[in-house]
């Protein structure tokens, strides 16, 4: 696979090459960044912190129509997922998250919606040279330049961008803009390595995960769960904003005679999440729900798919309204082991 250098002066031209495609990039909205479609003539920059809402929506939209039907009718109309999407500036943690949840969507049955979308998306990642305050990706198997799940990785070297093609999709796309770039003779790779090492040093928060997956079952009734969940509001913030959270609900929505069956993000922190029709709820309070959130990520998922379902993006910490901090919870778990 090739590694190229792109002079920043050529950046607008590079974007121009992508312009014919359905291109999405982070854009500022108030004090937060979010992924928005790049309109003609716009040149998104790559100078930003991570987006507030993770880009999992490109593969796992918050609301996905499974099929449409008419009340009283027998015809089912399935949507066609054939939009090519190019996502520019996705962070390594978020790209890794897609690979992690893919394991679930490929388990027992292949999920047609998820896999069709994944097929159609090209992910152009951006190395994190300025990690956020609550990033802890190296603790959970990632890193500021992790390439897992990416098609291309861009690193900002100052004067130049260093672009690495990581898959055939990425190679093809870089090829289309080949005349704007020069091949890297090794200097780019070296400069990148230095930047990445510096970035890793800037990461302050760490979790020592050793022993946690095996130890969690033994802590089922530990008083720590009551302690760490006492202030939880039971909102969807930590899960909706988590790139690896993948729970969904399926509901029918009817307007007049038009109906559709759709699936939408759900959250294990919601009260009705495991509510049975009988009125019984196996996770009756926020203590059990918080315990589930941690166990799902650091125990069940590891047990089933051999990988921790948390990429250390820090979003759940940044945005929890009451400072419930997963790093702190895991520290307490460790202590209780």
């Amino acid at each position: 696979m090739s590694a190229m250098l792109l002079n920043k002066e050529k950046w607008p031209e590079f974007i121009g090459k992508l312009a014919g495609k359905n291109l999405w990039a982070p854009q500022a909205e108030g004090d937060a960044m979010h992924f928005a479609q790049v309109k003609e003539g716009e040149t998104p920059g790559l100078d930003f912190g991570n987006t507030r809402v993770p880009p999992k929506k490109f593969i796992f939209p918050q609301t996905e129509t499974m099929y449409r039907f008419q009340l009283g009718g027998t015809n089912i109309e399935e949507p066609v997922i054939d939009d090519e999407v190019v996502v520019l500036g996705i962070r390594p943690c978020d790209a890794r998250a897609n690979k992690i949840i893919e394991k679930l969507f490929k388990w027992d049955v292949d999920d047609p919606y998820f896999l069709a979308r994944q097929e159609k998306v090209t992910l152009i990642g951006l190395t994190c040279t300025e990690p956020g305050l609550n990033c802890f990706c190296p603790s959970v198997g990632g890193g500021p330049a992790s390439t897992d799940g990416l098609d291309i990785l861009i690193t900002d070297l100052g004067e130049n961008y260093y672009l690495e093609a990581l898959t055939n999709k990425g190679e093809k796309l870089l090829g289309e803009a080949g005349d704007l770039m020069v091949e890297d003779k090794g200097d780019g790779a070296k400069a990148k390595e230095k930047l990445v090492a510096a970035a890793e040093k800037k990461i302050n928060r760490t979790v020592d995960t050793k022993g946690i997956p095996e130890g969690l079952p033994g802590l089922w009734e530990d008083p720590l769960w009551k302690r760490v969940s006492a202030s939880c509001l039971g909102c969807g913030t930590c899960t909706y904003l988590c790139p690896t959270c993948h729970c969904f609900d399926i509901q029918d929505e009817i307007e007049g005679f038009d109906a559709r069956r759709c699936r939408m993000w759900d959250s294990c922190m919601f009260e009705e999440y495991t509510l049975h029709t009988s009125g019984h709820n196996p996770r009756p309070t926020r203590r059990e729900r918080t315990r589930n959130r941690i166990n799902h990520k650091y125990n069940y998922y590891v047990d089933k798919f051999d990988v921790i379902a948390c990429v250390g993006c820090g979003r759940c910490i940044n945005l929890c309204p009451v400072n419930i901090d997963i790093v702190e919870i895991l520290r307490q778990v460790k202590e209780a082991l």
Partner: protein, 326 residues
């Protein structure tokens, strides 16, 4: 703020036989975060603080309790909850009493007269957060930021939360115990900070909210944090019939946000929590304060002031001229 006095009062309160726990604030895990503290014994009172970072309205926990069925032969725990409240928070407690969501005897109110809190986002923008849990103090007319051995003086207007700029009740309206002396209320703009939106044309207003509601991810953080959103059976969670579809799009998001705002008309006590927690940065405060202003000006009613008062949405006057409908 006399922290020793706080800890003394708190120790006495948690030592009482009729008190289950005290809910207050403590330092958070990093930066400008504070965390709600659930204190059950006197030792833990050492964690308690009251500072300009104590934005969270803890009154929400009064109705957030999820009760498990009490095993046969055991008695339910009916002891009181002690709660630290600022002026705005005390209005939430009062409104809950008015609505009979809680009864006065269920709670020990520890009033904290409040010179105004900071907007932590604004503070972090100007003075970037670090991993260290920083401290902020009231300092004359402004604030003092202490971190890494360094002390930074900050002018009040620079980082004061918007809700505090508009606050008419900085002193707790009810309390059993009071921390320190009442503060002198400050002049507030009459318009509740919404005149800018009121002056827009209907079309402009619609497109303004269209853009805002479009960002909503329906995490329901605003509902869950709100001390006055405590319906056991919320229409949002109803599936049969479905009042508001779970689908996230402009139409459903608008239905959600408008229903919530209307349900809080004459009940919202302007604590600003909904706006603070919204991960999509939707200016929910503007919406709620607009309705609060309408209710205040058209009906002369303000929620959460008098525990003996009437609940606005459930009051009816036979001689109502009915010359408009809210």
């Amino acid at each position: 703020m006399d922290i020793e006095q706080l800890r003394k009062i708190a120790s006495e309160v948690v030592a009482r036989d009729d008190v289950k726990c005290l809910i207050g604030w403590k330092k958070g895990s990093y930066g400008y975060r504070i965390a709600p503290a659930f204190v059950e014994d006197t030792e833990e009172t050492a964690d308690l603080i009251f500072s300009p970072l104590c934005t969270a309205n803890l009154a929400t926990y009064l109705t957030l309790v999820e009760k498990l069925p009490v095993p046969r032969g055991q008695e339910p725990d009916t002891r009181k909850v002690a709660l630290m409240v600022k002026g705005c928070d005390s209005r939430a407690v009062t409104q809950l009493i008015v609505e009979k969501g809680i009864s006065r005897e269920d709670v020990v109110v520890i009033g904290c007269p409040c010179p105004g809190v900071v907007d932590a986002k604004l503070l972090a923008e100007k003075y970037p957060e670090t991993e260290e849990a920083a401290e902020v103090k009231w300092n004359g007319d402004g604030f003092l930021l202490i971190r890494g051995g360094e002390e930074i003086k900050i002018a009040r207007d620079e980082v004061l939360a918007e809700k505090c700029r508009l606050c008419r009740y900085p002193n707790p309206v009810i309390s059993d115990l009071m921390l320190g002396e009442p503060v002198k209320p400050w002049d507030v703009p009459e318009d509740s900070g919404v005149v800018e939106i009121e002056e827009k044309s209907i079309q402009e207003r619609w497109s303004y909210w269209l853009e805002e509601f479009d960002k909503c991810i329906r995490c329901y953080s605003c509902r869950n944090v709100c001390p006055l959103c405590y319906c056991q059976d919320c229409i949002l969670d109803r599936l049969n019939p479905t009042w508001i579809n779970r689908a996230v799009n402009f139409s459903e998001n608008t239905a959600y946000n408008i229903s919530r705002a209307f349900h809080l008309a004459g009940r919202c006590i302007e604590c600003g929590e909904c706006e603070r927690v919204c991960p999509a940065n939707i200016p929910l405060g503007k919406l709620n304060r607009k309705l609060a202003r309408e209710v205040r000006e058209k009906y002369g009613f303000e929620p959460g002031i008098d525990p003996e008062g009437e609940p606005f949405q459930a009051s009816y006057k036979p001689d109502d001229p009915e010359d408009f409908i809210l």
